[in-house]
């Protein structure tokens, strides 16, 4: 059973790392602020989400698991709102603002 959990962890965390990589490449390569923000949201939501999902079987006890999930939710919340604020500033003052 442990082996199954370990394989699940490795798969999910690797998939999460892939999204981190993809998001970072997007951040570096995309042409303007709005598309770069779009690339970043993949890192917050899917990347971190998959890493947390993969770490859940390794957490000791349900309290630690709850902490992991709440970290993901908080990052989602702050990520979404900061993205909105930056996008709003870009729209108001232009990309060089």
């Amino acid at each position: 059973m442990n082996l199954v959990f370990d394989i699940f962890t490795i798969c999910a965390v690797s998939a999460g790392a892939f999204f981190f990589l993809a998001g970072t490449v997007g951040l570096l390569r995309f042409p303007d602020p709005l598309t770069r923000l779009h690339a970043l949201t993949k890192v917050d939501n899917l990347g971190l989400g998959l890493v947390v999902l993969g770490l859940l079987p390794q957490a000791d006890g349900s309290f630690s698991a709850l902490k992991l999930v709440s970290i993901w939710l908080l990052v989602q919340l702050s990520g979404a709102i900061v993205t909105q604020l930056i996008a709003g500033a870009v729209r108001q003052r232009g990309p060089r603002g």
Binding site: L74, L77, S78, I81, Q84, L85, G88
Partner: protein, 313 residues
């Protein structure tokens, strides 16, 4: 070579790279962002060294709070454009020489360590149980080096007085010039309504758990300060003027309770800042709670800056 040592080497290379770019980058704003990233990476390094208390403090103070203070400084420099005279060459040279001396001193301390590294850690671990605390860091901070901890908090208030004293006489006792982005229907308002209840619970948890596990007054206080600043920046609460009595009471309540318990120790336990046997843990937790409040208010006011106006707008 294990995966962990590869990770460590990568981390060190990143820290050095970000540290170098903090100095090399020409624009102040970019330098501050690099410094915040540097603080976060450094806190990962502390976790790898199993110093979770230091990691939490570094992330909260080194990355978050100092970053915010410096962003405020950058904004002020932008406003004060025009008189940004370049620092003269002798000054820059002497700063460089002093930095090099400090770096050389640190390098000798690390590269040529003494034969037997002096440590009191085993003695701390042996006697920790007497205090009733589970976290050795809290034990050192509040039992063995309580005087240092007390003075550290007093220094925080002195720093705040330093910031306040930048205010011109006409607005002394007025309202700090925190930049407020009050737009009633913005997403920032939403965040400022949603996050503080969570943040306050996290701050209480960090303060409470500090006696047993990594955490404590400084970390909890920083989270409180962040929540307060968020609410003020979103315009949901007014920035209070610094002459408010409740504000000043909250500022000093931590150090005053700490000092009072320390003085009571002279009578009850025969030494300044000693705790009567059996009462160490409750007293320390009481001090930590009061300190968390004081640190939160002090850090929030430090970030809010010196008073700039007298009347509420």
């Amino acid at each position: 070579m294990t995966i962990l040592s590869v990770f460590d080497i990568g981390l060190v290379v990143l820290i050095l790279g970000i540290g170098a770019s903090t100095i090399a980058v020409r624009e102040a704003f970019a330098a501050v962002i690099a410094f915040v990233v540097y603080g976060l990476l450094l806190s990962i390094a502390w976790v790898r060294l199993s110093a979770v208390d230091v990691a939490l403090t570094e992330a909260a103070i080194g990355g978050g709070m100092t970053g915010m203070l410096m962003l405020g400084a950058v904004a002020r420099l932008r406003l004060a454009k025009g008189n940004d005279a370049r620092v003269s060459l002798p000054t820059r040279l002497s700063v460089g020489v002093l930095c090099a001396l400090i770096a050389a001193g640190l390098a000798t301390a690390i590269l040529v360590p003494p034969e037997v590294i002096p440590t009191l850690a085993p003695a701390v671990m042996e006697n920790l149980a007497q205090s009733g605390l589970g976290n050795p860091v809290a034990g050192v901070l509040f039992v063995y080096r309580a005087l240092d901890t007390l003075l550290e908090k007093v220094v925080l208030i002195l720093a705040l007085l330093g910031v306040w004293s930048l205010a011109p006489d006409s607005v002394w006792g007025g309202i700090p010039g925190l930049r407020v982005y009050a737009r009633p229907d913005s997403t920032l308002t939403f965040l400022a309504q949603l996050l503080p209840p969570l943040g306050i619970v996290v701050a209480i948890y960090m303060c409470w758990v500090g006696a047993k596990e990594p955490g404590g007054a400084f970390q909890g206080g920083t989270v409180l300060a962040a929540m307060w600043l968020l609410v003020m920046i979103a315009g949901l609460e007014n920035v209070p003027s610094i002459s408010q009595r409740w504000l000043r009471l909250l500022l000093v309540v931590g150090p005053v309770i700490f000092l009072a318990i320390g003085l009571a120790g002279m009578v009850l336990a025969n030494a300044f800042l000693a705790y009567p046997p059996g009462y160490a843990k409750p007293l320390i937790v009481a001090v930590e709670i009061a300190l968390t409040l004081s640190i939160g208010v002090a850090l929030g006011l430090l970030a809010a800056g010196p008073p700039e106006r007298v009347q509420q707008q």
